[in-house]
Symmetry: C2
C-alpha cells in the first residue's frame, strides 16, 4: 500500500560510509524525516574508478533506492555527484540533490574575494565539477582544486588528530593556500571529521564549507518548496542498506553518524 508522497523517506546514497556524515546533518536539520541510507561498501571506494564504472554502479543504486519509494534522493558521494549526477537525474522523477551543487552554492555565498579552494578525491578533482558548479553561480570566481587521496584512509584509520594527518594536510594544502583563497570546500564526505584539524591549519581567515551541512539545508528548502515535508511528529525511522559489512564497520559507521547504527541490512545489487 503506497504511502502519501510527503510521508515517504528521503533516500541518501554513497559509495561507502562517508555519506553517513550527510545523513547525520539531515537528522539534525530535519529530525522528523525518515531516511533510507545506501552504502556500496562491497565496491568502495569509487574515487579511483573510471567514469563508466561509476555511472554503471550509480544506476544500480538509484534503481534500488526507487524500490524503497523515496520522495527525494541525495547523492551523498562527491565522486558520483561529480561524474554521474546528470545521467542519474534522467532516470528518476523525484528531486535529486547532491553534495557538489550544495557545496558550490554555499561557497559562492561565503566567499568575498572569489578565490575558492576545493579538496577532494582524485576523480572528483579531475571531473572539475566543483569549478563548474561555482562558475555557474559566479563567473569571475577562481577555483583551486587539490586531490587528497590519503585523507579518506586517514579518516577511516581514525587518525583524526594525529601528526601524520597534520603533516599530510599541510602538504596537500600548501599550493591551495598559496593562491590566497578565503573559502575552502570540503569536497568529500569523509572530510567533516577532519574539520577541527583543517580549521587549525587554514586559520581564521578562511571559511570551511562542509558539503554535508550544505546539502541538508538544500533538502530542507526543497521539501518546503515542493510541500513534501513530512507531516509526522513521531520518532523518525532510519534504515541502512550496505553491500558488505566489513571489519570494524559498526565502529567506523557510528563515528561518522555520531550515534548508534541500527537496522542495518546487507543487500546485493
Amino acid at each position: 500500500m503506497p504511502s502519501s508522497l510527503a510521508s515517504r523517506p528521503i533516500g541518501v546514497f554513497d559509495s561507502g560510509i562517508g555519506g553517513l556524515t550527510v545523513t547525520r546533518a539531515l537528522m539534525e536539520r530535519l529530525p522528523f524525516e525518515d531516511i533510507v541510507y545506501f552504502g556500496d561498501t562491497a565496491r568502495v571506494p569509487y574515487g579511483v574508478k573510471s567514469i563508466a564504472t561509476i555511472e554503471q554502479f550509480g544506476q544500480q543504486i538509484v534503481d534500488f533506492m526507487l524500490q524503497q519509494e523515496v520522495k527525494l534522493l541525495v547523492i551523498a558521494c562527491n565522486t558520483i555527484a561529480a561524474v554521474a549526477a546528470n545521467k542519474l537525474r534522467e532516470r528518476v522523477s523525484v528531486p535529486v540533490l547532491d553534495v557538489i551543487g550544495a557545496g558550490a552554492a554555499n561557497a559562492v555565498a561565503a566567499s568575498r574575494n572569489g578565490a575558492i579552494g576545493v579538496i577532494a578525491t582524485p576523480t572528483t578533482v579531475n571531473s572539475n565539477a566543483y569549478a563548474r558548479g561555482v562558475h555557474a553561480l559566479r563567473a569571475d570566481a577562481r577555483v583551486f582544486s587539490q586531490a587528497c587521496p590519503l585523507l579518506v584512509p586517514l579518516v577511516e584509520e581514525g587518525w583524526l588528530d594525529h601528526p601524520v594527518t597534520r603533516m599530510t594536510v599541510q602538504e596537500y594544502l600548501k599550493p591551495v593556500l598559496a593562491e590566497g583563497i578565503d573559502t575552502l570546500i570540503l569536497g568529500c564526505t569523509h572530510y567533516p571529521l577532519l574539520k577541527p584539524l583543517l580549521a587549525q591549519e587554514v586559520g581564521n581567515a578562511i571559511k570551511l564549507v562542509d558539503s554535508a551541512v550544505s546539502v541538508a539545508e538544500q533538502v530542507a528548502a526543497t521539501l518546503a518548496d515542493l510541500e513534501l515535508a513530512t507531516p509526522s511528529r513521531d520518532e523518525a525511522d532510519y534504515r541502512y542498506y550496505v553491500t558488505d559489512i566489513p571489519l570494524r564497520f559498526q565502529t567506523t559507521g557510528e563515528r561518522f553518524l555520531g550515534r548508534s547504527l541500527r537496522h542495518l541490512e546487507m543487500v546485493h545489487l
Copy 2:
C-alpha cells in the same frame, strides 16, 4: 586447439594492481614463462571487505582464470590468500600457490630466534593466516602482527620516500619492533615498493621477507617438480586483464611492474 600443458601460461591474480610486484618477480625468476594477470580493479581493495564477499569475488576470478587455460595459479593477493585460499583450491585441478604460504616458509627459513613480525592489511592480520603458516613449519615460533591500512594508499600516492610515510611506518612498527623480532614479513604485495624505507627503519639486524620474491621461488620449484616448465625460449607473452582502468592506472601499474604495461584489456566478471 589446446596447447601442451607445459606451454600454457601461469595465472596470477590480485584484487588490484599490487600483484604486479609478484608478476615482476616471476618475470625475473622465470623469463620464458607466459603470464596472464588478472586484477579486480573495479572492486579493489579487498582488505576492508568481509570474508564471504572476498570468497565470492575470488571464485569469480578463478573461474575466469581457468578459461584462460593456465597451468598454475598464483594468488598474488594476501587478503584472498588469507581468507579464501582453501576454498579456491577445492575448485581447481592445477596447482595453486599463494603469497602467504611462500612468505611464511621463507620467514621460518630466515629467522634465527623464531620471533617473526608481519605487516599486512587489517583483513590479512585478522585472518591470522601468516601465524598459522609459520606455526605449521615451526611450532615454537612467536608471530607479532600489525595491521597497516595506510601503507597501501601511501604507496599508490607514490610517497615511497616521504616524511609522512616514514612517520606512519614508525608508528606501525613500534609495537612489533618492541618484541625483538629478527624477521619481518611484508604481508601485502604493495609493500615491496617500500622496501628501501622499511630497511632503513628496521635496521640491519632484521631480515625483510618479500612475499613476491618468495612465491616466485616456489613457482619455479613447483614447475620443475611437476615437469611443467615451458620448453619455449621465445620472448614470453604477457597479458593483463582488469575490471576497471581508473585514472593514473598505467603510471601506477608500471611503477609496480618495473616495466611498460602493454596488452591490457578490461573485462567484466
